[in-house]
């Protein structure tokens, strides 16, 4: 598999997981939340300062359809993640042109 093809497949998988599969995720509280409920410290949790963000709790404000609302939030999240993290890693990468940078299969 060429590197370009591999990256495209990986990105598609991420988009599908965040944009489509996430709708079918379990809505039960996660391990920490559950333990906090059972042992009695869940009430010390406070609302996040970003809880009124348009994508808060992985739902898009103003879109009523749960599947679409969650899917869009996931896709936007994936795009933001890709730009931010690839940008960061591209910025701090090694630039001495040593070894791996001259991969003929790239």
């Amino acid at each position: 598999m060429s590197r370009r093809r591999f990256f495209v497949v990986a990105l598609l998988v991420s988009l599908l997981v965040a944009g489509v599969a996430s709708y079918y995720a379990s809505s039960h509280p996660d391990g920490l939340e559950y333990v906090a409920e059972q042992t009695g410290f869940i009430d010390s949790a406070e609302d996040s300062a970003t809880s009124d963000s348009p994508l808060a709790d992985y739902q898009t404000t103003g879109i009523d359809d749960a599947r679409l609302s969650g899917g869009l939030a996931g896709v936007v999240g994936v795009v933001v993640m890709l730009l931010l993290s690839t940008g960061l890693f591209w910025l701090i990468r090694r630039r001495d042109g040593s070894d791996a940078t001259h991969d003929s299969r790239a």
């Binding site: 990105l11 996430s22 995720a25 010390s44 949790a45 970003t50 999240g77 993640m81 701090i92």
Partner: protein, 229 residues
């Protein structure tokens, strides 16, 4: 395991913030060794995939759920220093954009999900790579083993932080037992996802797997030795 605002008091949150900031600063320098023109886009994709995978909560027993943390996965795929940065970007985006994990708890979440799981996952992986036969087929199981252990250890570290700076008076023994119990089960899910994803990447492009490189190098050397002899 995203910690919300309010679980831990201000001094504890500040302390984990300092730990996280230091780890990110050190990783920004050290990750240069792991990142080049070829691996930088891979690292971006790994961070993006971990973000997506963390949206998938899988059910765990009675009324609770867990999702991939991804520290062991990222460490094996792109190297431990880059993995700390991957998870840090994920956690900051989640806190700022999705209100997942508190703002004052970003340091705590980077410490638990970004540092502890990477350190445990990578540590176990490297240890197993040393003692197991030097074959490429051990990479995915070794990554899974690191993932398995990383989750309960992160749960224990949270319990330790809660013992120091928890904002509610609770029975610590009960918290410890419950955190450890549930997160051992979640660790099995973490191991399954990590093993599956690493195995897939190893099958498609083993050269893009950071943790597989020493084994690949040996394989190339063996081939060359066989050809020249």
């Amino acid at each position: 395991m995203h910690v919300p605002d309010g679980f831990l008091d201000a001094p504890t949150s500040l302390a984990t913030g300092v730990v996280a900031a230091t780890a990110v600063a050190v990783s920004l320098r050290a990750a240069r060794r792991e990142l080049d023109d070829r691996t930088a886009p891979m690292a971006g994709l790994v961070a993006t995939f971990v973000f997506a995978a963390q949206m998938i909560n899988f059910p765990v027993g009675a009324g609770t759920s867990g999702h991939l943390m991804g520290g062991a996965l990222a460490a094996v795929l792109v190297g431990p220093w880059t993995a700390v940065l991957c998870l840090s970007v994920v956690l900051v985006v989640q806190a700022l954009l999705m209100a997942d994990g508190g703002i004052t708890a970003i340091g705590t979440n980077i410490s638990l999900i970004g540092i502890v799981t990477v350190a445990v996952g990578w540590g176990v992986f490297v240890l197993l790579r040393k003692v197991l036969p030097a074959r490429i087929s051990i990479v995915a199981p070794a990554a899974a083993a690191g993932a398995l252990l990383s989750v309960p250890v992160a749960a224990l570290v949270f319990t330790g932080l809660f013992a120091i700076g928890g904002n509610a008076p609770v029975d610590l023994a009960a918290v410890t037992a419950a955190m450890l119990g549930w997160h051992t089960v979640i660790g099995i899910g973490e191991a399954a996802v990590t093993g599956l994803v690493v195995a897939s990447v190893v099958a498609a492009r083993p050269d893009l797997v950071h943790g597989a490189r020493p084994l690949l190098a040996e394989r190339v050397l063996e081939t060359r030795a066989a050809v020249t002899s």
